[in-house]
């Protein structure tokens, strides 16, 4: 099986996510873009796992998912706290982390 198609999709997902993180100001959107990049990496891991017929890549993908889930919890909590104090979701408004 040729992994090229999967890898192209993975690279495309990664670039979209990266572009979103760099360009967008909305914290939630940036957050989703980060998730996109993580899943792009997961896709690449699973692809190579299949290519090499080994399970290491899939195990790593599971780890990434678990870590991503934990990160979502913490990240969303921070975003909500920032929104409460600044009444804004723009990441540029959170430049100064002090009162």
């Amino acid at each position: 099986m040729s992994p090229n198609a999967y890898l192209i999709v993975s690279a495309a997902l990664f670039c979209i996510g990266l572009a979103g993180v760099l360009i967008r100001r909305n914290a939630v959107v940036m957050f989703m873009c980060v998730e996109l990049m993580l899943n792009a990496a997961n896709l690449a891991l699973v692809t190579f796992s299949k290519v090499h017929s080994e399970l290491d890549g899939q195990v790593a993908a599971f780890f990434t998912m678990v870590v991503a889930a934990a990160e979502v919890v913490v990240g969303l909590a921070i975003i909500i706290t920032i929104f409460r104090s600044k009444a804004s979701l723009s990441i540029d408004d959170a430049r100064r982390m002090r009162h």
Partner: protein, 676 residues
């Protein structure tokens, strides 16, 4: 504190430590009690020296019956490996004579000082210092090893410093004290070197135990120790080339000059040479150097004495010159050593007599500059009589103290080498010359101090720190100053008669030599030659200084003549003797002598200037390299952190961009690495 114990010797010698303890106690009492002791402190000071003198006399009388060298172990001071350094006193025929001289002259000088400093507010402090000096000097002469001797050696250096600078409010005195201390510290370098070599190579620091191991050790070690000790002795005894501090030391009170800088401390270097005699016997070349330094100083001192413009300065030159005799004798081996002690004792007495007479003169008229003296014989005849006793003794008039002792040195020097003997004879003539000059300019002729009084009154009034009264009035010295002068005068007259013939047998065992005593009327052709030269010296001086007018002193107006240009060019050669040769052609000898043979300027060029230059360069390196270097490093750090701080701007998107860019760069470099 551990390790030591008292071994109580039976009899008087076992308690010898009290002669050191008493003056220490007196000094502590006087210096610690403060003003409370002002009223009676001087009596404590006198007792602190007189009691040890009494003890020394008793000890001496018992030793007369049964001469023996006794060592008294008091305490183990240090034990390093196999080397023991004990607080051990050595009481033998040599050290008892020194103890008698130090305490005897010391007690007389202390009595004299009661009157001399009667109106000085610091008199109690003075007596404290004098007692400190006596204690240190006694430790020096009673020590059984080099380390303990060094303790006393440093102690007398300290006391000398304190006493030269006794009138510390006068800048000249403070500077003179510092100079004496520094030059002696330089010389001490030799002593410390010698002790270090003894520790390493001889395995002992006791006088009696160092020569044999050094001989076995072979190599240059005996020579190194001998040269190092000679350096130390040159400093302490004011020998060429470290002589110049003694002239400035005359800034101290006159009793100090008499006791420390004439009778006792300056002979400590000679004492060191004598104690190290077995060591010097191993290295004849260094022994010759000792004698040569003695001869050089003999002439240098005589030159300075002959040109001196102040009574005390003349006597300081004379002291150098006479100590030069002692060094010469110490360099002649065991026979010379015996006569070195002889001359040391007589010199201690008659030079103390001369200095105390000078003190009586300055006490009477208020100053000691020869230009302003003259004609004092009619005014203070008793001082004149005391001075004359010392004068006759020092020039070596037959049957007086200086005659016997100097005669013996001259004859020993002649036996060793006619060159040394000839120099010693010429030195005797020079001594007669400059002492006659001093006598004539001070006591004979017109009384210049009355004529110059008006002219100098203005000068004296202008000088803030001048202690000369504006109008000289003659005071008469108190009895406390008279008594020591009488005793010392009598000893100057009779001391030689008493010691001659006895001393050779007494000191023979110490130096391991058997000397047949010479009779009191022993005259040979050498004696007659010496007497002839002395007579010549007297006659020349009388002819030249018989009639001096105040105008004659006009050439003295320059207080210190500038260093001649000729000396400038050779000064970098740093040898005092070299420059003398050159200077002779260009300037008059008297001016050179009055300037102390430019020793200060030469030392300045040879030693002070290079060290100052070194200090300057080190300071420059500190400023330019170390300080500027550290400055540059912190400036650079500040600059770097100011730049990097701008990255931490709090914008998450900047961080994301930087992170991406960094990762991209890392990836690209990895790819390039793989493709290459």
């Amino acid at each position: 504190m551990g390790g030591g114990m008292f071994l109580l010797e039976t009899g008087l010698s076992g308690m010898t430590w009290v002669v050191i303890a008493l003056p220490i106690f007196a000094a502590a009492l006087l210096l610690l009690l403060g003003e409370v002791a002002d009223g009676w402190g001087h009596w404590v000071g006198v007792l602190g020296i007189a009691l040890p003198f009494g003890y020394a006399v008793a000890l001496f009388l018992t030793m007369l019956r049964e001469p023996a060298a006794v060592t008294v172990d008091l305490y183990t001071w240090l034990r390093i490996g196999a080397v023991d350094v004990g607080v051990t006193l050595l009481i033998d025929q040599l050290s008892i004579l020194f103890t008698l001289l130090v305490t005897g002259v010391g007690a007389l000088v202390a009595i004299y000082s009661i009157g001399y400093l009667a109106h000085d507010p610091g008199r109690r402090r003075f007596f404290g210092f004098i007692n400190l000096f006596i204690a240190a000097m006694l430790l020096l002469v009673l020590a059984d090893n080099y380390v303990l001797l060094f303790l006393g050696w440093e102690g007398v250096g300290l006391a000398s410093y304190l006493l030269i600078g006794f009138w510390q409010q006068r800048e000249a005195a403070a500077l003179a004290a510092k100079k004496a201390f520094l030059m002696n510290r330089f010389a001490d370098l030799g002593f410390i070197t010698a002790i270090a070599v003894l520790f390493a190579k001889a395995g002992s620091v006791r006088f009696s135990e160092v020569a044999a191991p050094l001989n076995e050790a072979g190599g240059p070690w005996a020579g190194i120790v001998a040269v190092a000790l000679l350096l130390a002795a040159c400093g302490k005894s004011a020998q060429v080339p470290l002589q110049s501090w003694l002239l400035d030391a005359m800034e101290g009170p006159t009793p100090v000059s008499a006791l420390i800088h004439a009778a006792t401390m300056v002979s400590a270097g000679v004492y060191l040479m004598l104690r190290s005699l077995p060591l010097y016997e191993l290295v004849p070349a260094v022994q010759v150097a000792v004698a040569v330094i003695g001869v050089l100083t003999l002439f240098v001192g005589a030159w300075i004495g002959a040109a001196g413009r102040d009574m005390k300065r003349v006597l300081a030159g004379s002291t150098m010159s006479q100590v030069g005799y002692l060094m010469l004798a110490a360099g002649l081996g065991p026979v010379g050593a015996v006569f070195a002690v002889f001359h040391l004792l007589t010199h201690g007495v008659f030079k103390a007599d001369l200095f105390l007479s000078v003190g009586a003169v300055t006490e009477s008229v208020g100053f000691g500059e020869l230009r302003r003296l003259g004609g004092l014989v009619k005014v203070i005849p008793w001082v004149f009589a005391a001075f004359t006793c010392g004068y006759l003794a020092i020039i070596g008039v037959p049957f007086l103290a200086g005659f016997y002792s100097k005669e013996h040195i001259i004859s020993a020097a002649w036996d060793a080498s006619p060159v040394l003997g000839g120099c010693a004879i010429i030195g005797a003539g020079l001594t007669a010359g400059y002492m006659t000059r001093l006598l004539l300019l001070t006591f004979v002729g017109a009384a210049r101090w009355t004529e110059l009084a008006d002219a100098d009154a203005a000068v004296a009034a202008a000088e803030v720190d001048s202690d000369a009264p504006s109008t000289p009035e003659v005071h008469h010295a108190p009895a406390s100053m008279g008594f020591p002068l009488v005793v010392l005068s009598l000893l100057s007259l009779g001391g030689g008669l008493a010691l001659n013939g006895w001393l050779q047998g007494w000191l023979g065992p110490v130096f391991g030599v058997e000397l047949a005593p010479t009779g009191l009327l022993h005259f040979d052709w050498l004696s007659y030659t010496t007497l002839g030269v002395v007579l010549l010296g007297v006659v020349v001086a009388v002819l030249r200084y018989r009639k001096v007018t105040p105008e004659w002193f006009d050439s003295w107006q320059l207080v210190s003549p500038p260093l001649p240009a000729v000396v400038d060019t050779v000064a970098s050669e740093s040898e005092v003797e070299d420059s003398e040769e050159v200077a002779v052609h260009s300037v008059d000898l008297a001016a050179i002598g009055a300037a102390g043979l430019y020793a200060d300027a030469l030392i300045d060029r040879a030693a002070v200037a290079p060290v100052a230059a070194l200090t300057e360069s080190v300071a420059w390196a500190e400023r330019r390299v170390i300080r500027d270097g550290t400055d540059a490093s912190w400036r650079a750090m500040g600059w770097v952190s100011a730049l990097s701080r701008r990255l931490q701007n709090g914008s998450i998107r900047t961080y994301a961009l930087l992170l991406t860019a960094g990762t991209a760069v890392a990836l690209l470099s990895m790819l390039i690495w793989v493709w290459m």
